[in-house]
């Protein structure tokens, strides 16, 4: 009984370490394959269009609604202390520091991440990646690296759009609907939000999330079993691993940046 448990734990640990090592090697293989895209930037810009543009609507609408909710909740709480003028500051700090990067990354994993995994997995199942190898074209260089870097570039831009629309949402609810003073809303925000401490750290977070989510997505697609079931499982794994990874990384980064 105990021996079986020890064996199971040992096997699990060994498999986890092996998987981490394998993923790390894959990450460096992608980095090694990346200089090629400098000669053909079109490969990346096409993917930025595909990944970024197609995620834009869900990110924009979500940003706006998160702003609406922040405006409402923030007003109800601040109003108890007579501090409703600080609503702009609360909305802006919540979005730039936390909600912008985190919610964008979670939505990005669900929208673009799954799409990347499924696309690459289906290319593998359809022998397209094998065909590329036989044409002496490295799939890491031609398929994986451009998608990886496109995700890394697209994430902070999408997070910025999310935060900007969230602030607009907070303004619409707080100022236009509830009646908070517009001057107080903007001036408090201007005075309280620090470019480096708040905005730059938010951007750094979204870049880190971009690396994490896109790597998980392309890695799961590349390593998917080339069957319909294998691709479906890989797509699910992308959402689960990327989402948990984003939340874990957010805690670490927040502790490092704001402690």
């Amino acid at each position: 009984m105990i021996a079986g448990l020890v064996r199971a734990v040992g096997r699990g640990t060994r498999e986890s370490l092996s998987n981490i090592g394998f993923a790390t090697r894959a990450f460096f293989a992608i980095l090694r394959a990346s200089p090629g895209i400098l000669r053909r930037p079109r490969l990346v810009t096409d993917q930025i269009h595909f990944i970024g543009n197609y995620s834009l609507v869900i990110i924009a609408v979500s940003g706006l609604f998160v702003g609406f909710v922040l405006g409402l909740q923030g007003y109800y709480t601040l109003n108890k202390y007579g501090s409703e003028q600080a609503l702009g500051l609360l909305v802006a700090l919540s979005l730039t520091r936390e909600l912008g990067p985190v919610v964008t990354a979670l939505l990005f994993a669900g929208r673009a991440g799954t799409s990347l995994t499924a696309e690459i997995g289906l290319m593998k199942a359809g022998e397209q990646l094998s065909a590329m190898e036989m044409m002496a074209v490295d799939p890491l260089r031609r398929v994986i690296a451009p998608r990886f870097w496109a995700g890394v570039v697209a994430m902070p831009i999408l997070a910025a759009i999310f935060s900007a629309l969230g602030v607009m949402g907070g303004y619409i609810v707080g100022v236009q609907l509830i009646g908070v003073d517009a001057g107080a809303f903007w001036s408090q925000m201007q005075a309280g939000v620090d470019v480096w401490q708040d905005i730059a750290n938010g951007i750094i977070k979204s870049v880190v999330f971009g690396f994490a989510v896109t790597f998980v997505a392309v890695f799961q697609g590349y390593e998917a079993r080339p069957t319909p079931e294998g691709v479906a499982r890989a797509t699910t794994r992308t959402v689960v691993i990327a989402s948990l990874g984003v939340l874990g990384l957010d805690f670490l980064l927040t502790a490092l940046m704001f402690s």
């Binding site: 397209q128 065909a131 190898e133 044409m135 074209v137």
Partner: protein, 267 residues
């Protein structure tokens, strides 16, 4: 070297499951050589070993004087530029048009001007009879047409070696005849060497110069198609004449029916 590809004492297994054992094969330059055998006999594995996508546990695969299984990745990719491969289902890039699929290897490996690429692609498509389908997507063409587009792509760089993985599988009789004819015609026109992996006897025998028969990872017979037709080997006879039972049993090996039904045989 008269042979473009030479395989010597090749052993390959997936984990503990042996696939190929002690294989020795020659593929002479300019010839069409068919590798035939039932499903799971290791035919496609041979193509992947020649292309360097798999590595043998023992033995050598020599392509144009280079031992494939000892090459570094960069050297392997250089060697693959001399190869073209037609995959079983075409493996066309579904997000690209027929034209762009054929242009793909030219764009990747040459810096030819766009005008010249266009002319070359149209010539390749003309050779497979699909010039007027150039702007269609793979989803808009039939399986037989997709196979021909993949063939045009495989020969885009005029390779010395063309490998065909089950090129006739799932094709109607007309497409099958067209494909077989193209394989022979293109091989002779380009002066290349073709390796044809198939289990379609009629079409393969019609175009092949030499045939290897494979069973359970080993060569069981070889010779010209005429030799094979006249062969008395039980495996070849079963395969060529499509007999249901023979050296390849009809029933999957295992317990007997009497055992499964719990019957006792009376003596």
């Amino acid at each position: 070297m008269p042979n473009l590809v030479e395989i010597r004492d090749l052993h390959f297994s997936y984990g503990d499951r042996p696939i190929l054992s002690g294989l020795r094969m020659d593929f002479p330059r300019g010839k069409v050589v068919a590798v035939m055998g039932g499903s799971g006999s290791g035919k496609t594995t041979i193509l992947r070993l020649i292309g360097g996508q798999l590595h043998p546990q023992a033995g050598t695969v020599n392509v144009d004087g280079r031992i494939v299984n000892t090459l570094a990745l960069r050297e392997l990719y250089a060697l693959r530029r001399k190869m073209g491969m037609l995959f079983q289902h075409g493996a066309l890039f579904t997000d690209l048009t027929v034209f762009e699929n054929v242009a793909f290897p030219l764009r990747e490996h040459t810096s030819l001007p766009e005008e010249l690429i266009r002319s070359l692609v149209l010539m390749k498509l003309q050779a497979v009879g699909l010039r007027n389908a150039a702007q269609l997507k793979p989803s808009e063409i039939s399986g037989g047409m997709a196979r021909r587009v993949a063939l045009a792509r495989a020969i885009a760089l005029d390779p010395e070696l063309i490998m065909y993985d089950e090129p006739f599988a799932g094709l109607d009789p007309i497409s099958m005849g067209v494909t077989a004819n193209l394989i022979r015609r293109l091989n002779d026109a380009l002066g290349s060497t073709s390796i044809l992996v198939s289990h379609d006897v009629n079409e393969s025998f019609a175009i092949a110069d030499y045939v290897y028969f494979l069973s359970q990872g080993a060569i069981v017979a070889q010779g010209t198609p005429a030799d094979m037709m006249a062969s008395g080997d039980p495996y070849v006879r079963q395969f060529v004449h499509a007999e249901a039972d023979g050296p390849v049993p009809f029933h999957y090996p295992g317990r007997s029916l009497a055992d499964d039904l719990g019957l006792e045989l009376q003596s």
